[in-house]
Amino acid sequence: MSENTTVIERAVTTTDPALLSRYWIGAAGLGLFLSIGVGFLAALERLDLSTASIFDGADVIFQLWSAHRVGLVLLAVLPLILGLATAVVPRQVGASSLAFPRMAAAGFWVWLFGAAITVTGFAVDGGVGAPGATSQTQAVAITLVGIMMVLLGIGATTICVLTTVVAGRSSGMSLGDVPAFSWSMLVAGTMWMLTLPVLMGNLLLVYVDLRGRSAVRFGAEEAIWEQLSWAFTNPQVYLWALPLLGIVADIIPVSVKAKLNTNRMFGAICLLGFVGFGAYAQTYFDLGTPVRQEAFSVAAAFVAVLAMLMALGALAGSLRNGAKETDASSATPLVLAMLSLLLLLVGTVVGALNAVESLDLAGTSAIGAQMIFTLAAMLVGMVAGLSWWGDLVAGRATPQRPLLITGLLLTLGLGLVGVADLINGFNGLNDFTGAVLSEAGNSGSAVDTLNLIVVIGLGMALVGALNGMISGCQHLRSSEPAVANPWGGTTLEWSDNEGSA
């Protein structure tokens, strides 16, 4: 590039994976803060279920509630994963760079503009419809366009990561030799490429039906979320958290200086990836029995628990064999990795409970609890990953304490939300409580107390996200050089870390 280019030109036209990784993670940090923020606002309204005391009716509350879920997945969790993968995967597999670097850069910018349009759509009374259908149709259409752009950006970058693992590997490295995080990205990315296009098809159908005329069916505002919700609930939500298993499988064995049973771990990743395929769980496919009550769906919910136990078994072997060798310097990633595993295990167990018809949890806040546990697991796992590979991503030494605080706040905060929502689910509280007492399902004093805990939990998570953003900025401004191999890792990413700033 010419030396006459400005900083902005260089920033916009860069194809450097390390820089793109920082863009993804920075933007996703903001997305996380906004997503938890709108969830916090929606939870505030739940404190008094007798009336819409803060916001103007159920439709506004629904927009905040749905923005929280869409934002957590598409504006926070997935971009965070892609940010880490963009920097780490090429190095792990010994590739000279990310495959199709221009497409990866385009993917980020398309995602960023899509994210901005999505946020704008939600902010101008749009979103993904509303139960009372009183939102602005044009704004709903804008939101849909934004989400489609977000999916395009995520899809383009995912293809780059997948191609890097498949075709960019170092010569002599078979797929079985690929480090766990890259392997998990291969499985998760492949499953994303099989499910995100289906969501894109749903969105296009809604958009065409909604735009410029009275909707026939697909674009009817009160039905839009119902149709898109499969992407944000069981079992699809496991696919968003799948790379977590790869992250912890890279962290734990190195931290405790013990070998990992890779066959069992890779098998667990594949199994969870298989049962996480959720594109079939759409309301359009409810012909007679709801698809979520079909035998496959119920069995998949229990197999997810087995997959988690399989992964835990593989990691427990490493912990048992190497516990005495644990290095105190790797305490932060190790602790956060263990916490994220615990959250994911709880998430799969709650998913299995939701599948038991006799417990009558369908449509209750237990559905939200499962999503929160699973996404919280991925978020805490991401913090563990950033603590582990932060030097590679930023090219500077990674301060561990702020990341530990961020991870603990997210674990505690979102864990509280999950537990309170789960108990509320057993109390019969609806997943979306609305603004009218009769629609909430239950408004007893126990539910009110638990709703207060949800607010406190989301408040803690919000502080955690803010702390993460501030410490990330401080990290990038730091001048302390990256350590070449801080953990004594044996995979390729540590072989040439000279600091990529």
Partner: protein, 193 residues
């Protein structure tokens, strides 16, 4: 101990092919999802005894013509790959050009049919699905034609040879997927209605 395996070459020969495979799979899943919705909503509607497409609204002729054109284009695409493999540039130009023209013909026929058909998009669920699926396929064909144009320019410049044929192979993979998707459109929408 740090592993010191050699760094991979900057650009492995099959990189583009692998990337195209993932992108094409995504495109197939996009249409797979839409076809599933089409068949499921159609089945539900017919089970209730309601009308799907109005009687005589969907004509087999344009669908059949397009199917024949797409099938022919698959043959010419294979001809292009074969020619490149044999370093036969003249036949490669011709095959890519003919494939592109057949693609344009499909776009032309589909647009004409859209203008001619007497079903507005908001007529019923079938109409919405009809326009979304066939419209999305139209975009897929358009992208394919653009890719073929790029390929033609590269071939004219002598950049695609038996040794450097990844772009042709990738374009062929994408084009075959385009033809495959249309065969389902023909089967489910034009024949099955």
């Amino acid at each position: 101990m740090v592993t010191t395996a050699p760094v991979a070459p900057a650009n492995r020969p099959r990189t583009l092919m692998v990337g195209t495979m993932f992108a094409t799979s995504a495109a197939l899943m996009f249409f797979g999802g839409l076809f599933s919705i089409y068949l499921s909503v159609r089945s539900d509607t017919l089970a209730w005894g309601a009308e799907w497409f109005p009687e005589g609204a969907i004509s087999l002729l344009p669908g059949g013509m397009n199917m024949a054109t797409m099938a022919l284009s698959a043959v010419t695409m294979a001809w292009a790959v074969y020619s490149i493999l044999n370093n036969d540039r003249v036949h490669a130009y011709l095959a890519i050009l003919v494939t592109g023209i057949l693609g344009v013909a499909v776009i032309n026929q589909t647009v004409f049919y859209f203008m001619d058909i007497a079903i507005p998009v908001d007529y019923n669920e079938a109409a919405v699905l009809f326009y979304v699926i066939i419209g999305a396929h139209l975009v897929m064909v358009g992208l394919g034609v653009f890719w073929l144009g790029l390929l033609l320019l590269r071939t004219l410049g002598g950049q695609d040879t038996a040794q450097h044929r990844d772009l042709v192979s990738s374009a062929a993979l994408y084009w075959y997927a385009t033809v495959a998707v249309y065969s389902f459109i023909w089967l489910f929408i034009y024949i099955g209605k």
